[in-house]
C-alpha cells in the first residue's frame, strides 16, 4: 500500500453563507504535505491563505463552513470529526502559531501554567515531568533563564520572546504538523529572522512538517521546501520554492515577483499588476485572474484552468497548455 502523505487536502471548498447567497472563500484547492516538509502558502490579503489554515485545524469562524472536499491527516479524514475529537487532535497532532503572540497567549496565566497545562492535556505525564519538559522547551526556543521565566506573565516578554513562547507551546505535544499563520508579520526585521530560523531549526529537529502561511515571499524563499501561491481562493501555482521564485509560470506569480522591490537590481519601475484582487462576491468567470492578466485569451474568460504541469511545478493557466502544445 502506498504511504499516505502527512496532510492531504482534496478539492476543499469553504463557503460563507450570507443573506445574498453563499460566498466561496476557498474554491476547490488540493495539495499534499509530506512528513517533515515545509510548505509555504503565499498570497495577498483576501487570497484565502489563512482560511485554508483554519479549515485544516477545524477553527473556521462560523458561519464559514467546509462545503465539500476532504482533509486527511495520514489517511484519516479530519474534516468531519466531531468537535471533541477535533479538540483532542488540535494541539496534539497539529500545532498552531498565529500572527499576534499577544492574543494567542492568555494574559491572566503565567506562561509556565499555559505550557504545563497543554503538555498535561495531551501527554500522559506527571506535573513534575511536564514542568521539566516546559523548561527544556523554553530553553530550546532560546528563552534565557527558562526555569525562572515559567512564572512570568505574557506581558513581561517582548514581542519576539512571546513568539518564541508560542512556538514552544505549539511544539509541546510533539505534533506532526505545525500551522504557522504569519508568524513573523508583527515583528521587526532583525527579530523576524531570528524567529524564522528558530521555527526552521526546531521543526527540523523534531521532524515536524510546517504549513507556513505568509504574504512575504522573502520568508518563503528562506524557509519553505515547496510553495503554493494563492489567488482568489484558488491555487495559482504550486511547486518547489526555487522554481516558483526563480522561474514562475503563472502570470500572477510573475507579476507578484516583479512587484517586489529588489535589493540588488537597478532602480527600475516595479512591475505593476493593474487593479486588485476581486471581492468574494464578484469573482470573475473562468480564470479569476483574467481581468488583470496581460495574456488573457477567450478561453480564460469562460473556463477555469486546472493545475497544469510546468517544469517541476504546476500552474493554473491556460497559456501553459498552449505553449506546451506549440512545442510538440
Amino acid at each position: 500500500m502506498m504511504r499516505h502523505p502527512l496532510l492531504s487536502v482534496k478539492d476543499l471548498r469553504v463557503e460563507f453563507p450570507t443573506r445574498r447567497g453563499a460566498l466561496t472563500a476557498i474554491d476547490g484547492i488540493s495539495f499534499d504535505l509530506r512528513e517533515g516538509e515545509v510548505l509555504g502558502v503565499v498570497g495577498e490579503s483576501g487570497a484565502g491563505k489563512s482560511i485554508t489554515g483554519t479549515a485544516v485545524i477545524g477553527l473556521l469562524e462560523p458561519p464559514g463552513r467546509i462545503a465539500s472536499g476532504e482533509i486527511r491527516l495520514k489517511g484519516e479524514r479530519i474534516d468531519n470529526l466531531p468537535p471533541a475529537a477535533m479538540r483532542k487532535l488540535r494541539g496534539k497532532r497539529i500545532g498552531m502559531v498565529f500572527q499576534d503572540p499577544l492574543t494567542s497567549l492568555n494574559p491572566l496565566f503565567t506562561i509556565g501554567d499555559q505550557i504545563i497545562e497543554t503538555i498535561m492535556t495531551h501527554l500522559p505525564v506527571s506535573e513534575r515531568e511536564a514542568r521539566d519538559r516546559a523548561v527544556a522547551l523554553l530553553e530550546e526556543v532560546g528563552i534565557p533563564a527558562a526555569g525562572q521565566r515559567l512564572s512570568a506573565y505574557p506581558h513581561q516578554f517582548s514581542g519576539g520572546m512571546r513568539q518564541r513562547v508560542v512556538i514552544a507551546l505549539a511544539l509541546c505535544a510533539e505534533p506532526e504538523l505545525v500551522i504557522a499563520d504569519e508568524p513573523t508579520t508583527a515583528l521587526d526585521v532583525s527579530v523576524q529572522s531570528q524567529i524564522i530560523r528558530l521555527l526552521q531549526r526546531v521543526c527540523r529537529d523534531h521532524g515536524t512538517a510546517v504549513m507556513l502561511i505568509t504574504h512575504d515571499m522573502g520568508v518563503i524563499a528562506e524557509t519553505a521546501d515547496r510553495v503554493a501561491v494563492m489567488y482568489s481562493g484558488r491555487i495559482a501555482e504550486i511547486g518547489p520554492v526555487r522554481d516558483v521564485i526563480k522561474s514562475p509560470s503563472h502570470p500572477y506569480t510573475i507579476g507578484l515577483m516583479g512587484a517586489i522591490p529588489s535589493l540588488t537590481g537597478d532602480h527600475d519601475r516595479l512591475t505593476q499588476i493593474p487593479g486588485s484582487m476581486p471581492r468574494l462576491d464578484s469573482i470573475p468567470r473562468g480564470c479569476a485572474f483574467n481581468p488583470r492578466c496581460s495574456l488573457t485569451m477567450d478561453r480564460c474568460r469562460v473556463e477555469r484552468p486546472d493545475l497544469i504541469p510546468a517544469g517541476d511545478s504546476h500552474a493554473a493557466c491556460w497559456k501553459l497548455l498552449e505553449t506546451e502544445g506549440a512545442g510538440r
Binding site: V189, V191, I196, H215, M217, G218, K246, L263, R269, L270
Partner: protein, 342 residues
Amino acid sequence: MNTVMQHATAESGAVVEVRSLSRTFDVSKPWLNRVLERSPKAFLKAAQDISFSISKGETFALVGESGSGKSTVAKMVVGLLEASAGEIRIEGVDMRSRRQSGQEMRELRRRIQMIFQDPYASLNPRWRVDRIIAEPIRAFKLESSEEAISARVGELLELVRLHPRDGAKYPHEFSGGQRQRICIARALASKPEFLVCDEPTSALDVSVQAQILNLMRDLQDEFGLTYLFISHDLAVVRHMAKRIGVMYLGRLVEVAESRELFRNPRHPYTRMLLAAIPDLDMTGTPRRPVEGEIPNPINPPSGCAFHPRCPLANDRCKRELPLLQDMGGAGVACHAVEEGRT
C-alpha cells in the same frame, strides 16, 4: 558634526534642513505614585540630535525598526509634533521660530504635506471623497469658485489614476490601495513641494504597493516633489530613495547614498539589518545570525546604544557616545568604524 549634512545645502540649495533635532517625552508616573514609590521622573528620548538635509526633487529615507524614532522625526518635520530642541528649516524658513507671521506660516504649511501609513484611519469616513480632497483647496483658498474647486478635484483624482466620478463615493467604497491614492490626491491638493510619507505602503499588499510606489515616483518626476520617506522595509527604501539615513534608538547611526549603503554598509547595525532581510535571490549564502532585540528606550544602554548587540563593541563603546563622522558626504556614528576595527 553637522558639516556632514551641510555639504548638500551648500551645493544645491536644500529644501529641507534639519539640525540637531531632538524630542523628549515625559513618561513619568503620576505625581502621587512618584512620591509613594520614590521613583524619579522618566523621560523617553524618542529622537536625539538628528541632522539631515534634503535637496530639491530628492528622496531622503529614514529607515529603522519600531521604536527607532523615525515617525517622531516625520511628525516634527511637518509640525504635528513640537520639537524639544533643534532646528527645522524649509527653504530657509525656520519652522520653529515664532517670529514668522501667521500668513508666512500658512504659506509654509501649504508647501508641506504628509501621507500616513493607514489609509483606513486617515480619511474621514463620513465625508465624500471630493470633499476630502477639496478641503486643503478651501483651507488655503487656492480656488475661489465652486466650479473651479470641483474641476481641480477631478484633475487630482485623475492624477492619482482614479476616475473623477469617484469623488461622489465614500472612503469605505475603496480598497486600501485606492484609499492611499485618495490620500495622495489630498496631499497634492495644496500644490506642495515637500511630502513627508510615513510608511505609505506598509499596510498594502505587494502588488498594490508596487502601484503606489510607481505612482509616487511618477508624481515626483512630474512636479519635482521632494520626499522624506519613512519606512521599515529596506527593499522599499532602496527602491525609492537617493540617500538613506538609518536610525537606531532615536539616533541616526549611518547616512549614505542608497546604493552605497547596500553595497558597502559601514555601521554594524546597518550590516545586521541588511543581513536580516530574507534573501529572495536564494544565493544560499549563510547569513550572520542577528543577536538580541532593541533595548528599552526609556533606559537605553550607556555610550553607543547599540553596544550590547554589537560584535565589534569594546570598552570605549560602552562609555562614549559616537558622533556621526563625516566620510565624504556620508556619515557613520561608530567608534569601531572610525578606528578601523572591522
